[in-house]
């Protein structure tokens, strides 16, 4: 049961990464080991794989990639090992605008990520791990490649078995660079991309745990999710559950642990902060980010990546936990990386920018997403220019609301992101939009002959 957190930074994932940017440097293999690194992997391979899955399940480690699905539960969906290959894919696509948290781990503590990968691979008996990194992360790909090489050279991975053969189970890690397509962050599009194809999301079921990469059982997890497995095993489930908050909805899943929160926008100290889940956005901004920039007032914040929609001016106190969606009319916590806007921000421009993103990144498979995203952009561009009408506002809401998995019209969740972003911005800042549009007069012709 979490204690009531006072929201002091609790470094669990960022133990080795200072908050001050100028003091950061990549932790090498030797430095990592000298500070207790790979000890948790040693502990893990002394356990039964199934025990580890149960532990992670017990910790209710919810996925850090956006959807918040519990990792242990996902792992338990794997069918029993049949001797054939099983895969782990690590999602470092991080292309959601506003999100820049996984990069911190890859840049500065790559071996923590690798240790998490090794533990997950052992726990789920997956022999090959594809580290899927977005193409634009040129520097990060180099840093991570070097870390992988160091880990091989020191026998963590490779034919001899994990940790220089301490376990007979052998794991290989392959760095796979994507090439500039946001949609490949969606887990099944990611699989297609690793298979060398265009990143078109697959229709589910079958779920990847049953039939994933190259048709084999596959687990896809976010970078931060796997990194969090290390402190969970290291310090125990109880220590992890002391961090974060319970859900306030009866019977709903809790938000345990710390979370990397990358804050950008109009704040004094934009940066990645590691804080306990549940911290109010206001505390995050005022206490940790040094408040709003230039003494301006808070106007709005994107909840955690543009897909999640927007928190309005009166929602500054929203706690950053997995309940946020149900409580504050946004899609969810997403990546917990808020982009904060001050009072001078033009919300029409924000909506237009976001809809431009979704139009460019729709993969084109589903008509509501492919065509709808174009319409939303057209309407918003028109409104921004001052040529929109009141009718356009209604049409915006209607088109946006018809796109996505929730209305059940698309294959993947990209369209839901577009839907929620546009709808929440228009709904929460409606007067601003209304000031920008012209009323649409419906001409009424009164016939002189009427009533004769």
């Amino acid at each position: 049961m979490p204690t009531s957190p006072d929201f002091k930074p609790t470094p669990v994932l960022t133990k080795r990464i200072p908050e001050d940017r100028s003091k950061r440097s990549t932790v090498s293999y030797d430095q990592y080991v000298a500070t207790g690194g790979y000890k948790t992997l040693e502990k893990a391979i002394g356990m039964q794989p199934a025990e580890i899955v149960e532990l992670v399940k017990g910790a209710v480690l919810r996925g850090r990639g956006g959807a918040g699905f519990p990792a242990g539960l996902k792992w338990s969906f794997l069918p029993p090992a049949d001797g054939g290959p099983r895969y782990l894919c690590i999602n470092c696509d991080e292309a959601e605008p506003g999100t820049f948290k996984d990069r911190l781990l890859v840049d500065f503590d790559p071996h923590l990520v690798l240790e998490g990968i090794a533990i997950a691979a052992y726990a789920c008996q997956m022999q090959t791990a594809y580290f899927f990194i977005r193409g634009e992360y040129h520097h990060q790909a180099k840093v991570f490649k070097k870390a992988i090489e160091e880990a091989y050279a020191n026998g963590v991975f490779g034919k001899q078995g994990l940790l220089r053969g301490a376990s007979k189970f052998a794991v290989d890690v392959v760095l796979h660079r994507s090439a500039g397509a946001y949609i490949c962050g969606e887990e099944t599009a990611l699989l297609e991309a690793v298979e060398g194809k265009r990143g078109w999301p697959r229709v589910k079921p079958p779920f990847p745990a049953v039939k994933g990469l190259f048709g084999r059982p596959t687990i896809i997890n976010n970078v931060e999710t796997l990194a969090a497995v290390v402190p969970i095993l290291e310090s125990g489930v109880d220590a992890w559950k002391k961090l974060g908050v319970e859900s306030t909805f009866p019977g709903a899943m809790p938000s345990y642990g710390t979370k990397l929160m990358g804050v950008s926008g109009h704040v004094n100290r934009p940066n990645v902060y590691e804080l306990e889940l549940g911290i109010p956005l206001r505390t995050l901004v005022e206490k940790h980010c040094g408040g709003m920039r230039n003494g301006k007032k808070f106007k709005a914040a994107i909840a955690g990546g543009v897909s999640m929609g927007i928190l309005g001016t009166d929602q500054y106190d929203a706690p950053m936990d997995f309940d946020i969606g149900r409580k504050f009319d946004v899609l969810g916590l997403g990546t917990a990386c808020p982009t904060v806007f001050d009072e001078d921000t033009d919300m029409v421009a924000v909506a237009r920018n976001i809809s431009r993103f979704f139009k460019a990144e729709s993969c084109g498979q589903c008509t509501p997403c492919r065509e709808g995203s174009g319409w939303l952009l057209k309407l918003l561009t028109r409104i921004e220019r001052g040529d929109g009408t009141t009718q356009d506002l209604d049409m915006l809401l209607e088109v946006a609301g018809s796109m996505g998995l929730t209305p059940g019209t698309t294959i993947c969740g990209l369209a839901d992101g577009n839907n929620w972003a546009v709808r929440t911005i228009v709904n929460k800042f409606r007067p601003e939009f209304e000031r920008r549009v012209k009323p649409r007069f419906v001409p009424v012709y009164v016939s002189a002959a009427a009533g004769r």
């Binding site: 290959p85 991080e94 292309a95 959601e96 605008p97 506003g98 999100t99 820049f100 996984d102 990069r103 977005r134 193409g135 634009e136 992360y137 040129h138 520097h139 290989d172 392959v174 796979h176 660079r177 994507s178 090439a179 500039g180 397509a181 946001y182 949609i183 991309a193 690793v194 298979e195 060398g196 194809k197 265009r198 990143g199 990469l213 190259f214 990358g262 804050v263 950008s264 926008g265 109009h266 934009p270 940066n271 990645v272 994107i302 543009v306 990386c337 982009t339 806007f341 921000t345 421009a349 924000v350 920018n353 976001i354 993103f357 460019a360 990144e361 729709s362 993969c363 084109g364 492919r370």
Partner: protein, 184 residues
Amino acid sequence: MAWPTKPSATMQVPRRAEPYVTDAMKAAWTKDVLPKYATKLGCLMPILHDVQHAYRHVPYQAQLEIAQFLGIAPSDVLDTVSFYDEFTVEQRGVVTIGVCHSIACEQCGCGSTKLIERVREKLGLLPGETTDDGQVTLITMDCLGSCDTAPVALFNETLHENLTPEAFDRLVEQAAHAKAGGHH
């Protein structure tokens, strides 16, 4: 990304005598790429990265050569090349300037719109265009994962953060004179 129309089966592929896919490349791929993927098609992305990096584009002839090397259909190669923004059929400039125009970069600091405008003023380029001498390509990119230091831009593989118009101008100036092969 998205859904470009693909050239028809009857199109003529421009050819040069010298192959794009060299023996050295093939040897490296056989050693480093082929063992890592369960299918031949799976090896495609790392190979395309290498070719794009070497020639700043993946021309149709190179796509045919890759298809032949992997023993897969040329249409599969074309399908993948046409989907990903980083692979181009047209040759990119010696320096590609990729300005992030997603939400934080548009709304923070001097803003990406101003940066894009600077390149138009200095080099006469709109996003997607390359200077006539093949030196500089301007593209707009979406969130580069560096929103806390917005606005940002990639000059080839190097990210520049917290850009001001003045700092950006200097980088554009350098780009206009950078030598091929040297990394910016």
